[in-house]
Assembly symmetry: C2
Amino acid sequence: MFPPLQNDTFLRACLRQATDYTPVWLMRQAGRFLPEYRATRAKAGSFMGLATNVDFATEVTLQPVDRYPLDAAILFSDILTVPDAMGLGLTFAEGEGPRFATPVRDEAAVARLEVPDMSKLRYVFDAVTSIRKALGGRVPLIGFSGSPWTLACYMVEGAGSDDYRLVKTMLYQRPDLLHRILAINADAVATYLNAQIEAGAQAVMIFDSWGGVLADAAFHTFGLAYTARVLAQLKREHEGAIIPRIVFTKGGGMWLDAMGQLDCEVLGLDWTVNLGKARAQVGEHGPRAKALQGNMDPNALFANPDQIKAEAIAVLNSFGRPHMDRSQTGPTHIFNLGHGVSQFTPTENVEALVRAVHAHSRSMRTAQV
Amino acid sequence: MFPPLQNDTFLRACLRQATDYTPVWLMRQAGRFLPEYRATRAKAGSFMGLATNVDFATEVTLQPVDRYPLDAAILFSDILTVPDAMGLGLTFAEGEGPRFATPVRDEAAVARLEVPDMSKLRYVFDAVTSIRKALGGRVPLIGFSGSPWTLACYMVEGAGSDDYRLVKTMLYQRPDLLHRILAINADAVATYLNAQIEAGAQAVMIFDSWGGVLADAAFHTFGLAYTARVLAQLKREHEGAIIPRIVFTKGGGMWLDAMGQLDCEVLGLDWTVNLGKARAQVGEHGPRAKALQGNMDPNALFANPDQIKAEAIAVLNSFGRPHMDRSQTGPTHIFNLGHGVSQFTPTENVEALVRAVHAHSRSMRTAQV
């Protein structure tokens, strides 16, 4: 149905297989830092107008892949499409973050929640298929969703928050209500990601953007447990190909031991994590050893190209030389930022970054030990 | 000069000495959640009007100590008084955070910076002495400052920030400029805290509120190194009493090994840290073993009193039983929140918390092992 894949570097690295160089893509690579994105966004009128239109979503997903030699594309969408399909009414006011018209704050609202009919998310699955075709096999396509906890934050708060007071009040005062929200979110996210896989996504990523705001004990009970519930329901392969699963918890470096036990292939790491230590902790050995994705500070892209190159090399070196034996699996690294690329990033600096990652990671593999 | 101290539980715990119960105080305990604070604040007209008036600062520092059986008082002031004294023009607009009229963003502005004349901070030292007298020895008084890095964030950004783009652009593009700011900040903070000690502060705390936004390598170079530079210059005792030094890095739990090597007595921990693990890592053994302070989620105070009690007990139990041998030092815990108390906290919930900490920590010491 789709053209054969020409660059499997990203997928191989996800599966801890040796590659000739370290693959690189950037969170939020299809976004506002690109002038061509801003042009399409202007045509679409609104953010949701962009995300729900298959042609626009295809166009902006391909823009960074056309411009830079990236090793993966990621579906252009939002992490909050699932609660929108639950009827909460997602909007993006100009210059503000997401907002829900109908937040979920009391027992009655929680009782009304259910796993949404996936037909309401048809626009996402259609976009996945359209993008897969448009990519023509150049690089693999990553699908994604917000994590159950991160969705719950927005669903209860109704918008972004400085202190997560409303959702945490529910957590401490009515944990039963929050558990119900999270269980529904987990089952909805799993169904949603499986439908993306069926539509053509070749890897899936769970963005736990707000996992890091939870207290230690609460992270395990309200965060990780429901991410695990999603993972347990995900399709392991599709049409003969294994579908790697990536989990990214911003601010979750503290809990790497527990995340290392998740049933997934890749852990995304933010810039506060030491990649070498993380490799020793969860990337090197054992039946659940994972590929690691990350973790340059997005703000490093505001330096000059030579400095960016030095920073990219420092990140690659902090992970160290990946394994190179094609007969077995071993430690692998997927280069990324530690969070989304800033809208203020100069486009030429991303070019410098991608070239530096490719060049240095090749030289790491051929250098004398 | 000052009345003798009647409750040394907090100071003993800072020095890893056995106590009959776990001392408790709350970051931002002198603050907006108290109606009596809001009344004084209204009289003062502005936040800086409150902070710079010795009588008002004394009044609000004592308010939480009068209301609750807390084991320490903390100077009412702001973490940004030092850059204000450098001439940057600190203001607090109603409903907003701090703002500097003259941010430090270029080479010329950095060149102009110097350690301020401490006479400009006289109002702080006068407040310390006034509070010490007003406390009458009931509990010890903690002085404080922002860390060099945290001050630099505000000095360069000019205000709070979502992404720290300006200060991090300087970090990655002109590290020489940032190093100069940090060196001046470190020497200024050390001088400032020493003057607080001379004025009567019985312990000092360095708030590294934004350390956790730094990338792993940058935290060590631009964060911790300058906190260490402050610590190295601090007075170790005053009028025969040891002055404990507390370092609190919000979001710094990832770097506990490195922070465990700091030359200070206490580490403050936010709610993402597992206290039991932190105790094993930095609180139990060795010449640099430290007392631990923290770390209940401030949002837990929005639950009901029984739930707050259960949460306080969970935090105490996660640290475990402190050592009880008065003939030697050993692991100790100072109960606190993981960050400042929220302005929306019901006052009676703080009462429930303080009572639960005292009662349960006494029972932990007498229970059969």
